[in-house]
Symmetry: C2
Subunit: 399 residues, 2 copies
DNA sequence: CTGTTAGCGCATTCAT
DNA sequence: ATGAATGCGCTAACAG
């Protein structure tokens, strides 16, 4: 029923080995012979048996791209870029060095992350790209470290994209880390420069590196402005008890979430930080909470653009205007951010470029940065959603 | 170096066959023996060799999910739902019936679609889910039909999600089609009921089923209202010459696109239809064009929510207000649509539910609908971006 | 440049 | 309920 390499060999009157060689193209074959083989392949409509090939070669052409939330363009853009770099070159549909770039959605769950890695390991994947922030739970870090080491041992190339390097992991080909801390700092500095002093912060889920770094930047800017004791303990640092259910935020389809409060007590900014998932809804509810706690707030910084959208909605629903009454800022500069009204002030991350670079690194077509680590800069995009605060006094409701 | 089934068998003092049986769980094994084997697996940290397993069993645990644009939540939501249904059950990380659900980004390119299918075929994928609208090019349809037939022949379960059934393809397990036509019709009826008579339409790329069906619904509503000759030829029907570059709209990273004009000449609505990619930018430029052609326009219907966002921006940039001067409507009801200002009137598609169902169909855990075909209804979501047109006369610029 | 020979690691007959 | 034997389809030495 199914046509094999041997069938092709017979039709082309060559040995199976020769057919294998022309198909893999990694060995010299006479042009005439190649033609004959290729014709036989076409005639017979032959399709290589991947598993057999992978078994014999002890490696497959599978490349896995892990994302935390496939419904979030933040990941979609990176994954798409990587996939383009990996699988997009030929359009023949014929056999050849075609890699199969696939994306796997962990939904932010550490278990699923590990499970996918095992599945990819089982497939003897050629490479794995991990995108987005990591969970800072010590157990999970340990599990990930050993798992990635095993993958690397088995010949799988591991690349991190938008995720900080794993300490002591020489197994990793390269880590492309976003400068979330610097971006967060510049964003808050921008607000401070505009004159804001009471700034609410809607942070992401606890124990995520992305959350922590952006928040650190924010706090550093506040401290530099004398609004906070720089000696305060770091927020959301490893070792903190697991936030109840945070970090498990699955993408869609889970209504009913309520933004809960997280760490508090930063001097001078008491209660101005609320944690929640990276969702529009969390942004909405956390902002309502912030506005209730601190009615004198003049600005809200959100964990990312999606959260910022929710924050904007909450601000408006309270009858306040953006940016006249309250400034709002996001992070990532996703495509829709410029279309928000007013256009969202945010921090641009070169997601496409980073994803593409990760793809090349995974393919081995780009040399890794020195030390295997590169930090990707985040650029402030000051737009219309932020403006100087109203000169003291009460605010008038919009309209 | 790498530990095999035989190693586990030796450690557990059983035969390799027994180990295989407990791992696959599809054969009776004594409880005590199973325990011993499982312990050996753990001790040795054994990971099944996927390719070897697939080769011997002539099938793999790979399930492919094809999407047109991974950076678009429309696809992300469906793919994430399907993936949850397929791979999300166990968190053991251990071996077992774990399927590997992966998403493949075609970027809307027919070649890449075929290439991915070949790659999946090569891997002997257990199932394939095709999401989103199809291209109506006859050659491509033929190629897809034979390719899918081959996949089905090889035992791969094929499911269509958000895509119309392929004519004469009994190879397909099930087709879940969205009622794009009905949704489009109800949307335009809504506008007509509000009193609009001059309605611009920013259509999607030519030759996409989604584009055609939504447009057909629009035109049907117009015809029913006597605004168009019902006997007019169908728009964007197969056989039309390929639109220059349309249908190839790659996701991100390609600035510089200009919305070009498409079919025209529908009686009574001359030039009120413009085609372009499903992007925010296309919506922006097409709307500018529509406004230029027909300054008396009172409403703009967009191909989808993303395009609608661009349309909103264009309307505003012309100094017009939404909905006072121009109503704007989208399609899909993506999460961000309710956050637009004003909230976007659109047509809701149950993307998560459809994706989840497709996942179950692919797994064989849900019985296919009668005839293998189900139509999923689209619900009108009337929100603030649409309102009755101004009573005749010129419009005043906003502000 | 091409053919021959051996496995790759596992699932599955068949026996028992 | 378990073990022994066979082959899945291909690649990679090794010859020539």
């Amino acid at each position: 029923m199914t046509v094999t390499l041997a069938d092709v060999a017979a039709r082309a009157r060559v040995s199976p080995a020769t057919v294998s060689r022309v198909l893999n193209g990694n060995y010299p074959v006479a042009a005439a012979t190649r033609e004959r083989v290729l014709r036989a392949v076409d005639d017979l409509d032959y399709v290589l048996n991947g598993p057999a090939s992978s078994l014999a070669a002890a490696t497959s052409d599978l490349v896995g791209i892990l994302v935390n939330d496939i419904a979030d363009p933040f990941f979609g853009i990176m994954a798409g870029a990587a996939q383009t770099e990996i699988g997009g070159q030929e359009g023949t549909g014929r056999a050849g060095g075609e890699k199969l770039a696939v994306v796997c959605n962990t939904g932010g769950s550490p278990e699923r992350e590990l499970t996918y890695l095992t599945l990819l390991q089982r497939q003897r994947a050629a490479a794995v790209i991990l995108t987005g922030g990591a969970l800072e739970d010590p157990d999970h870090i340990a599990a990930m470290t050993t798992k990635l080491a095993k993958l690397a041992d088995a010949g799988t190339r591991v690349v991190l994209c938008g995720r900080p390097p794993l300490p002591g992991s020489d197994a990793i080909v390269a880590s492309l880390a976003f400068d979330n801390r610097g971006g967060g700092q510049r964003l808050t500095e921008h607000l401070l420069t505009l004159g804001h002093r009471r700034i609410g912060y809607v942070a992401g889920p606890l124990e995520r590196t992305t959350t922590r770094h952006r928040l650190e930047g924010h706090l550093a800017a506040l401290a530099a402005a004398g609004l906070r004791d720089p000696a305060s303990p770091d927020p959301a640092s490893p070792g903190t008890e697991r936030g109840e259910g945070y970090g498990e935020s699955p993408g869609e389809g889970r209504p009913g979430h309520e933004g809960r409060e997280g760490h508090e007590g930063h001097e001078g900014q008491e209660g101005l930080i609320v944690h929640g998932p990276y969702s529009r809804r969390a942004g909405y509810e956390a902002t309502l909470e912030l506005l209730r706690r601190a009615p004198d707030l003049t600005a809200v910084v959100a964990a990312n653009d999606t959260v910022a959208l929710g924050a904007c909605a909450a601000v408006r629903d309270q009858g306040l205007r953006i940016p006249e009454d309250v400034s709002v800022a996001g992070f990532d500069d996703l495509p829709f951010s410029v279309d928000a009204t007013p256009a969202l002030t945010t921090v641009r991350l070169p997601l496409y470029e980073a994803g593409a670079r990760a793809g090349r690194l995974a393919m081995g077509t780009e040399t890794p940065p020195p030390g295997g680590i590169a930090t990707i800069t985040a650029e402030l995009m000051a737009r219309a959603s932020t403006a100087p605060p109203r000169a003291a006094g009460g605010r008038g409701p919009a309209d």
